[in-house]
Amino acid sequence: MKTNVLIIGGGISGLSIAYNLAIRGVQDIVVVDKSYFCGGDTGRCGAGVRQQWATKTNCMLAKRSIDFFEKAKDILGYEGNLEFKQEGYLILASSEKEAAQFKQNVALQNECGIPSRVVSKKEALQIVPHLNPEAFISATFCPTDGHLNPFKMSEAYMLAAKRLGVSFHFYEEVLDIDKEGDRITRVITNKATYEVNQVVNAAGGYSHEVGLLAGIDIPVYSEKHEILATEPVAKMQGPMVMSFSHNIYCQQVPHGAFLMGRSDPDVPHDHDIESSWQFLEAMAKTVTHILPPLGQLRVVRQWAGHYNMSLDRQPILGGVAEVSNLYLACGFSGHGFMFAPITGEIVADIMCGLTPFMDVSELSSERFKEKQDFIIEKSVV
């Protein structure tokens, strides 16, 4: 089967790239995904969207993505409810060192047009009254950060892309990639063989493996991150509460449930995404310390997904030197959902030979070849 563009991965990144290519006039686009709709890491994410980052690149990507989310329903013509809420992220500092770092972060964020600010303990307690005052010394707050339903946002992109002629094939897995010289000629799946002009690797947790099929060793790895959800209750918390030192993010979604997650520094680099009791216990201890009233809530479900980690915790977007018609959208390090709008915009611009809104050399996989001392994003749970 002849196909102009084959996108591997129907998660939010692949969807956004498909939509952005289609609105730039690209025709004959096929998206394949080995699982069901939102079966990968988009459907497993914490549903937060934030702009409070510590590197300029991440700040710029996040700001432009939020600008899109604010208008997404209209732009994409979506009839459903995206459950977008902008009630902020409150990020807790629990040491003087952390507070000093956050002050620098806020200065950088403000430079990028992000309306974050440092808030005192007193003000933080006004924003989220049920915080344990002993658990932090100060905080930062950005009122335009928030929440978005990942399933609905994905559906909005998918339906908009379908209207523009994009085809979606779920339960279709890429098995092999054939090359001639430095070009991919064919992609073989369990259902078809595609003769292709351009290929996108947006395979999330499996992007390294897809890279290997094309003969490249993308510097990313996957690791398990776990989340739990409580029963829904009446609204009691507007913002996402987050702490890097306590290792927690926790928000009440519009539906009423609380979602919370934390990372495990010793987690192996692999594809295990089974739920663990160790997570439940550690998560419960952390959240009942920081947000004590939440101890009354019942946990109804837990699950896990991959973070696809890059060495500097910033995404890898764009072409690669070794394969002339392969484009990457991977290494999001846990933030692919919230960066989806800009991912689609940048990758589609590069593929169409247009000039993206920012310097993309910082996002290319080549950055890891040129230097060893890259700036590492620290604001990651």
Binding site: Y36, E155, V287, G295, L297, V299, R301, Q302
Partner: protein, 93 residues
């Protein structure tokens, strides 16, 4: 029968009518429907709706019920408070 008055998922208040509409739109696996309608995500975790929806899917797809998969069962099997989870190790050696 008024399909909008037949409740399939009591936790999330989803009617047969809403289910039929989503099946018509092309969401024809339990995992799809779970993500679009929240069926199976409430306090009972699909203990009530799983086989009802399985039957509706089988009918819609003209398949045997045994050929229609239901959701992935996730922990916990019943709701436990965060306080209980946080303090559960106090009774252990």
């Amino acid at each position: 029968m008024d399909k909008s008055k037949v409740i399939l998922c009591r936790c999330e208040d989803i009617s047969l009518d809403e289910l039929s509409q989503k099946m018509e739109e092309g969401y024809t696996t339990f995992e799809d429907l779970k993500r679009i309608l929240r069926v199976g995500m409430g306090p009972c975790q699909a203990n009530t709706c799983a086989h009802l929806i399985q039957k509706e899917l089988a009918q819609f797809l003209n398949k045997d019920m045994s050929e229609v998969s239901v959701h992935k069962v996730r922990p916990l099997t019943l709701g436990v408070t965060l306080n209980q989870l946080a303090n559960g190790d106090q009774n252990e050696d």
